[in-house]
Symmetry: C2
Amino acid sequence: MSNCNKLGIGLAGFGTVGSGVWNTIEKNGELISDRTANGVSLRITKILVRDPAKTRATTSAVPTEILTTDWRELVNDPSVDIVVELIGGTTDAFEIIAAALLAKKPVVTGNKALLAERGIELFAISRKMETPIFFEAAIAGGIPIVKIVQDSFVGNRIHSFTGIINGTSNYILEQMTLRGIDYTTALGEAQALGYAEADPALDVNGWDAAHKAILLATLAYGFPIDPKNIHVSGIEQVRPTDIKFAKSLGYVIKLLAIVREHESGSVELRIQPSFISQKHILASVHGVFNAVSVNADAAGESLFYGRGAGQGPTASSVVADLVEAARDLAHATRHRGFLPYRETGNLVPIAETTTAYYVRFDVTDRPGTIAEIATVLAKHAIGISGTHSPVNPDNPDAEFLDMVFLLHSCPFGKLTAALTEIESLNCVNSTPVVFRIENLG
Amino acid sequence: MSNCNKLGIGLAGFGTVGSGVWNTIEKNGELISDRTANGVSLRITKILVRDPAKTRATTSAVPTEILTTDWRELVNDPSVDIVVELIGGTTDAFEIIAAALLAKKPVVTGNKALLAERGIELFAISRKMETPIFFEAAIAGGIPIVKIVQDSFVGNRIHSFTGIINGTSNYILEQMTLRGIDYTTALGEAQALGYAEADPALDVNGWDAAHKAILLATLAYGFPIDPKNIHVSGIEQVRPTDIKFAKSLGYVIKLLAIVREHESGSVELRIQPSFISQKHILASVHGVFNAVSVNADAAGESLFYGRGAGQGPTASSVVADLVEAARDLAHATRHRGFLPYRETGNLVPIAETTTAYYVRFDVTDRPGTIAEIATVLAKHAIGISGTHSPVNPDNPDAEFLDMVFLLHSCPFGKLTAALTEIESLNCVNSTPVVFRIENLG
């Protein structure tokens, strides 16, 4: 370490977020120093880039001599005390973080996919080397949920998280709700506005939210979670008809990440489009904003809301982590324990998770269709709270149509068994689409 | 300090919150140890009480030998590493905190009135003794806004806070809104439910919120603020007629704390009942909940919502501070800088603060009343966006009535000059009531 309070930072990656970190330190460095004991001073001393010749949109000039294209040079540079990984992906990023930890250089990263997929390996190196990984930017961008769970709620048993933690999905669902447009149109607009990537798969299929939810669960419950064991469904199947129907019943459709500890100690973790009451505060999470609602035994109900992505918010979280890393380095201390702090834990099998449901069937309409479906549901002892099929006034006798069933609470496994049977009925033309109806209290 | 990781705590005060701290440590002590580096272990070793014989509603028995009625004994007890002040008030509490700091024992307190009124003295002792005061519980109960501002947003310049930070007022206003009841009835119910004190003055007159807002401003802008220099008005003058009128225009009335840095660097700080859009997320803050919306240069817009008072939430914040204090003690470090970190700063004079307004006049109605009032407003170049007076269908020709004016944005000083003149009109029977109309974007 170059000095107790002057910390050298190596930035691996210098895209939007990297430039944001540069600008924030440039603009608010003095303020940071004022606010911290002994005046922490952050200085970026090395930057890993793909193309050193590229023009950078930073608020002050970046000296070319601190640029490098070789990550080993960055990690090993003696001026670098802390490594910030911002290149994304799960291969090179893994190598960089592992090498930094092995060199006892604390790591700051926003790479949720890497930590969710290969966190177990990296956390093990971190613990062995007694060198922390900070990842505030990995969950919900500028919302400081990691620090809230680890520090502010350290005295709380967390009962549950309910999160809207993918801004792209939230934006798309909201546009569909406000304007009645379909999924493809809304996605195209989100891409045009830069809210969705050219390849939006991870955002819309629920896996970006799932990565974040896995990290939340590990923070709260302390055990590693294999992404293979959780249930994830995205928003690709949401249609205007679903949205309209939800609205008519006083609901709004949101992509929710649910993380919940059962009394048994097992943890329920699932990502699904869900009906929630229009009156619930999560229904007021608009556009690309994120929110995480936390239910904890001492603090009760809380909600943390903010920008889940973007240059400034992500940089805000990276800089907070840098200041924490700097403090730890300056005093050779460590505040938070290492993750995971329990070796194993149990997930609630998805088949056992229980909510009410909205199910849309693509049916060939004829007398008896409802009866056939209802009979199978009855056989499985699943209660129906309502059925509906939108009648087209121009074609009231349409042969193919959407038929919607609202079902009382039952375990998901029971529902899927019934739906498998229903799918094989002649009158049903494709796999039924299921959304959860969440009672958020 | 008895041991690096085992920390002895002296609780000054053992009412609701003190018992909550006892219970939380009892229930979640192991969890705290799991989550913190080197396993922080908190133990309450001394408790200041008024009456040692009183029965305590704690989840485990409190040994009578750790009770004392002498605060000096508590502060000086060698088993006490950290002092938690929970007795409230600004006299004995001051003595206890000052003595603890002078003994180099970190202090945790939730005493907003003390810190807002006499913080300058205590912070000076804290700095001189290099011993911190933690006060997460002093602002918005279980919402970790202190840590968010000091740590998570350390890299941000804070543009503004907009807070609903008095649960009692929020509860009363909401009941008035939902049920059309008047202020006195709603206050009585709040008292019966334990949401308002027998003496509710500080809650309803805005000063409890003001104390918290002063602390928020000092956290964000670093300079001490004299309570005498800020503008505070409470909810006592809100009538059903105001609520109904707000509703009809798409607004809801909330007691808002506004803290905002102007471009000049001066800080606007005021507490007032305000009209806000029903669509704004702050309008969804129900019951006794609190919320603080933060606008920061990097993180953008955020909102932090939760329980602003009560046993569990307050204990949650006290315990988080204890863990932070324990970490600092264990390593003889300090993370946050001392407050205030600037010697002085400027407040924006209330006369220069600018919003739109809702003004209710108690008038003697006769032809010319509106003209007289409007003429004075015109003279002061204050634009009127609407006037209204609720007609009583049973008595359409009532002589005395409420007349409401909605006014375009202007500096508050200009408004008060006009209102002074209007108050002297014959047709106006009492001091006009003014609420702000906030454009929260």
